[in-house]
């Protein structure tokens, strides 16, 4: 029996502990493995025969490779892969440019006039998802998607997020219709909410860029209970977070959502209100789902480039929201006005 301590390269998140420990324990040679996020090390006890420490490190790296980890005897410095930015910056720029063009062309004007039908609600949802609301909800979806994908889980949190969103739009939309009063936030409430969203986006964006190791400590949304969940989720905490974030999008500052809520008010019926908001949310689904699952399609390619691109776009949305919230509160003059 020998015990080795290895430095883990690529250990960046709380779920990495569960992941590395689990993969190593699956090996018949290993009797015990314990990882630490603090020191980025793993203590491994087991029967490795005649292998030298270097060979053990190599041997143990095998099962971890596909998760992006490697074990070393020496401490590895935090490496910023600046090369990824060569591709990430222009790709992010194209995305931002498309966003700006869509706003400048006045795509929101396509939202129909006349009677509100379920079809109109759907179309308004479609348009809302490419409007400036994308900076809020889309930014959140993209940062969540990339962050969770980095933690090793790409599909489940996203599906839960969309379920949470659709259900809350149905239930709360119905409530507005039945009760006849909307829960609209006042000026201060909207400001505080947009401000918080902006800050969260900035933190998540910076974290995705993976330049400053300290941003990891700021992540509030991914508790370690979620991390443990990556390998066989038992607790509900991990599932609850994306579900609740999805549900909370009902209250996020988005002009379209607000005017739909206002319309729902006038329906005076639970079912009609619920269906209107639900179909509106359904209309926003295609674009949001595209953002959600973008992490999946690109996984095979350069993941580093993808995370950095997502990080840049999320930071752009964060800054955009921050500026807008300050403008809306009357604190600064509008710099850009579409």
């Amino acid at each position: 029996m020998d015990t080795y301590t290895f430095h883990v390269q690529g250990m960046h998140c709380k779920s990495c502990i569960a992941l590395t420990e689990g993969e190593l324990m699956d090996l018949p040679e290993v009797t015990h493995a314990q990882s630490s996020l603090k020191t980025h090390t793993v203590d491994v006890t087991g029967e490795f025969g005649e292998r030298t420490p270097e060979q053990v490190a190599q041997f143990l790296t095998e099962p971890l490779k596909r998760h992006g980890y490697s074990l070393h005897l020496e401490r590895q410095g935090h490496q910023v892969r600046w090369g990824d930015f060569t591709y990430a910056i222009p790709i992010a720029a194209v995305f931002v440019a498309i966003f700006i063009i869509l706003q400048k062309l006045g795509i929101v004007n396509l939202a129909g006039s006349g009677e509100m039908t379920y079809t109109t609600a759907f179309v308004i949802g479609l348009i809302a998802s490419v409007s400036t609301c994308m900076a809020v909800v889309g930014g959140l979806v993209l940062s969540m998607s990339a962050s969770y994908a980095k933690e090793g889980e790409a599909i489940r949190p996203q599906v839960l997020f969309h379920i949470g969103r659709l259900v809350s739009f149905f239930v709360l939309g119905g409530l507005i219709g039945a009760v006849g009063s909307a829960f609209q936030l006042g000026g201060t409430g909207t400001f505080v909410l947009s401000f918080i969203v902006a800050i969260i986006l900035l933190i998540l964006g910076l974290n995705l860029l993976d330049i400053f190791p300290w941003t990891k400590k700021l992540i509030p949304t991914l508790p370690s209970s979620f991390g443990k969940g990556v390998r066989g989720l038992k607790g509900t905490a991990g599932a609850l977070t994306p579900l609740l974030i999805g549900a909370a999008t009902f209250f996020l500052p988005c002009g379209f959502t607000q005017s739909m809520q206002l319309y729902t008010l006038t329906t005076g019926s639970y079912l009609e209100g619920a269906l209107t908001m639900f179909i509106f949310a359904l209309g926003t689904l295609p674009v949001l789902a595209l953002l959600s699952f973008s992490a999946l399609s690109i996984k095979k390619m350069q993941t580093g480039v993808f995370y950095k691109t997502a990080g840049l776009v999320v930071i752009f949305f964060g800054l955009f929201n921050l500026m807008n919230s300050l403008v809306a509160a009357g604190l600064i003059q509008p710099l850009i006005s579409f």
Binding site: I89, A97, G106, S131, G186, S259, N324, A328, I336
Partner: protein, 129 residues
């Protein structure tokens, strides 16, 4: 030069975004005169369309006159229906289609009055001279 690729990619990015801003510029009507200020009795009436932003974005009106802002919506579901005018503490979600009047007392009708939508990306201003 090791940094060359990064510098190039930043340049490409700047070009792409700059191009998007320049080429998609809406004609904002600064050249043409929009007649949106009129007198109705004692009051000065300013008409502003709210849909996908506010039009006209900049209005010049007489200062020190009791003024009414007439905000018109027509199938407006975007942010411009949620109007905030911080200076007079006005905040309202306009109906999707309709006309909303906002009173601006004579003593407030000075300087520049700014209106923004609740998310902040659309704005209009009225300059009282």
């Amino acid at each position: 030069m090791k940094n060359l690729p990064i510098i190039l990619s930043v340049l490409v990015a700047a070009l792409v975004i700059g191009g998007a801003v320049v080429f998609s510029q809406k004609p904002d009507g600064s050249g043409q005169v929009v007649q949106n200020v009129s007198m109705e009795g004692e009051k000065q009436v300013i008409e502003i369309d709210a849909k996908g932003g506010y039009s006209p974005k900049l209005t010049t009106a007489k200062a020190g006159v009791p003024t009414v802002l007439r905000l018109k919506t027509n199938g407006t579901y975007d942010c411009s229906s949620a109007v905030t005018i911080p200076a007079i503490g006005f905040r309202k979600n306009l109906e999707a289609t309709g006309v909303t009047e906002v009173e601006v007392p004579a003593n407030v009708a000075q300087g520049t009055l700014e209106g923004v939508c609740s998310m902040g990306m659309y704005s209009f201003s009225v300059k009282f001279m």
